[in-house]
């Protein structure tokens, strides 16, 4: 059977209430960057492990990102093949909202993208068949 625990099987129904809070503003973006190793935690947001539960500062006081944050944004944009403006634009927000693994991205690793070993020369041939 498909596993359920409550008598009315309500826990089987998709939990519409439990959707990830979209990343839609600078503060959420900073939390994202901090959570995944791109920047330090925003002030007052606690450690990376708890970043998702810190109090949200007053939105009206949001201004342009600071230099450190802009630099982190720029690096994130670069690696994700986005225009490296350092600005929180729609494309960057969309990328941040994509499904992803919760393990952070060590930045030293990301620079390795261009140096990863390449496939050795091999004869052209048919596409590999499925398993």
């Amino acid at each position: 059977e498909t596993l359920f625990h409550s008598r009315d099987r309500s826990d089987l129904a998709p939990s519409l209430l439990r959707r990830a809070t979209p990343i839609a503003d600078l503060f959420a973006a900073q939390r994202f960057l901090s959570k995944y190793g791109w920047a330090d935690a925003p002030p007052g947001a606690g450690s990376a492990a708890t970043v998702s539960r810190g109090p949200r500062p007053d939105r009206s006081r949001e201004g342009p990102p600071g230099t450190a944050l802009a630099a982190a944004l720029r690096e994130f944009q670069k690696v994700n093949a986005l225009p490296a403006s350092g600005e929180l634009d729609a494309a960057t927000l969309a990328t941040m909202n994509r499904p992803r693994c919760g393990v952070p991205d060590p930045r030293s690793q990301l620079r390795a993208v261009s140096t990863a070993p390449r496939t050795p020369p091999s004869l052209l041939g048919r596409r590999p068949r499925t398993r």
């Binding site: 939990s15 990343i23 690696v79 499904p99 992803r100 393990v103």
Partner: protein, 426 residues
């Protein structure tokens, strides 16, 4: 709680032991790792059998490219299990990291081998093209547990963002090299290796000759795709799955007598041999005179001892070289007898080019490779290449049938890796 001290977070002060460029760290120092889908962590979206099957396949895929084995263990105390997997929603499985509901974070892995999946995500089996492939996410998270970090390299399974996959999820060349950088490449001796010739007709009706390379070990085998420098996806598989009517394990030799008038393929084991029918893909039951197979080697190949170490057919000389111990027997297939001057010492017929750099005796396989147009002597994890015509055109001083110094098999034929016996028939 102690187990969750550290998510795979290269936090301050933490440095990988040997951070090769693009690196990661070896997480386990043993060859066989156990895993379990924990009872309190079943997903509510797929049947438990589906979940366990997908995880078994995910572990097998890493096993196919590393010396590691993965065994599902349903009985040992939980604390002894190396890798534990489970699903949860929001706050889950005693983990300090809260899942965020559907969207964004769909799974994470902890350094000591715990993998958690957010059950609010729409995980689907490999056969579905909707939702998030549980197989792909599992292979990714297991990569973390084994020590691989994220990379943004196109095509890598270790990209942080989920990328819907086409039908064939496989580990590409760079992922294989990255994990082998941490755990080494696969070594091991083979029972036999051979190229299998196929004749096909192309659309114009011309006969095309193709070949596939096979490596046999115990009761399983691999097809090696020379053009892709790797074994076939999904190999190794049981010998009985792909070859019918031959012994199920520990074959000694394969010989293909291929002339303008003859096309005979033989498997050897112990004191017997089998003839294989390529068209019907099974061993012959009887020969043209109605005599049944298997037959005694002493009858079919008079003067040849058994059991053999190995054998190969030299098409140019129309001789089969049979090897046993330190001796080699040259068998003339046209006169059906051993050449008068044989047996000889193997080191005499195939002399070492570099003194003492020679297998001397008990080789595992003598393999003629059409891809390399050379004979290779395999012994343990090493091979010695026999001088061929091309070699002698460049260096005329080379002795005929000389052996070049030994090299590592895994440096020439890549990713010929065992998998745990419990997953061989996947």
């Amino acid at each position: 709680p102690k187990r969750f001290l550290q998510i795979l977070l290269p936090g301050p002060g933490w440095q990988p032991k040997n951070p090769p460029q693009g690196g990661g760290t070896q997480a386990f120092a043993k060859k066989t790792l156990t895993w379990r889908l924990v009872g309190e962590g079943y997903s509510s979206q797929l049947s438990v059998e589906d979940q366990r099957y997908i995880f078994r396949l995910a572990f097998r895929m890493w096993s196919e490219v590393t010396p590691l084995d993965f065994r599902e263990d349903l009985t040992a105390p939980g604390a002894t299990i190396d890798i534990k997997l489970g699903f949860g929603r929001g706050r889950h499985l005693g983990c300090p990291r809260v899942f965020d509901g559907s969207g964004q974070e769909f799974a994470h892995a902890w350094r000591l081998g715990d993998i958690h999946f957010d059950d609010d995500e729409h995980f689907t089996p490999p056969t579905s093209d909707k939702g998030i492939s549980l197989l792909k996410v599992a292979v990714h998270e297991i990569g973390h547990v084994l020590g691989l970090p994220h990379t943004y390299r196109t095509g890598s399974i270790m990209q942080p963002n989920y990328i819907p996959q086409g039908p064939a999820l496989e580990l590409d060349w760079s992922d294989r090299k990255a994990i082998q950088k941490l755990y080494g490449s696969c070594e091991g001796s083979f029972d036999t290796a051979f190229d299998w010739i196929r004749t096909e007709r192309n659309r114009r009706g011309d006969v095309m000759v193709r070949f596939s390379t096979y490596f046999f070990r115990k009761s399983w085998y691999w097809l090696y795709e020379n053009r892709n420098n790797r074994t076939r996806y999904g190999d190794p598989i049981h010998i009985l799955t792909g070859w019918h009517g031959v012994p199920a394990q520990s074959l000694d030799a394969f010989v293909h007598i291929w002339t303008w008038t003859r096309d005979e393929r033989y498997f050897f084991k112990g004191n017997q041999y089998w003839r294989y029918d390529s068209d019907k893909d099974q061993a012959h039951a009887k020969d043209e005179q109605g005599k049944s197979y298997p037959k005694l080697i002493s009858e079919g190949f008079p003067g040849i001892p058994s059991p053999l170490d190995t054998a190969f057919y030299d098409r140019r000389k129309q001789l089969i070289y049979f090897f046993k111990g330190s001796f080699v027997f040259a068998f003339d297939v046209n006169r059906n007898q051993v050449l008068d001057s044989y047996p000889k010492k193997m080191a005499e017929v195939f002399p070492a080019i570099e003194p003492q750099n020679h297998p001397f005796r008990s080789i595992d396989s003598a393999y003629y490779s059409y891809a390399h147009k050379s004979v290779f002597f395999l012994k343990g994890s090493l091979y010695w290449k026999v001088v061929n015509d091309a070699d002698r055109q460049h260096q005329a001083w080379l002795p005929s049938n000389g052996l070049f110094p030994k090299q590592s098999i895994s440096g020439k034929w890549f990713d010929v890796c065992d998998v745990h016996a419990s997953t061989l028939n996947m």
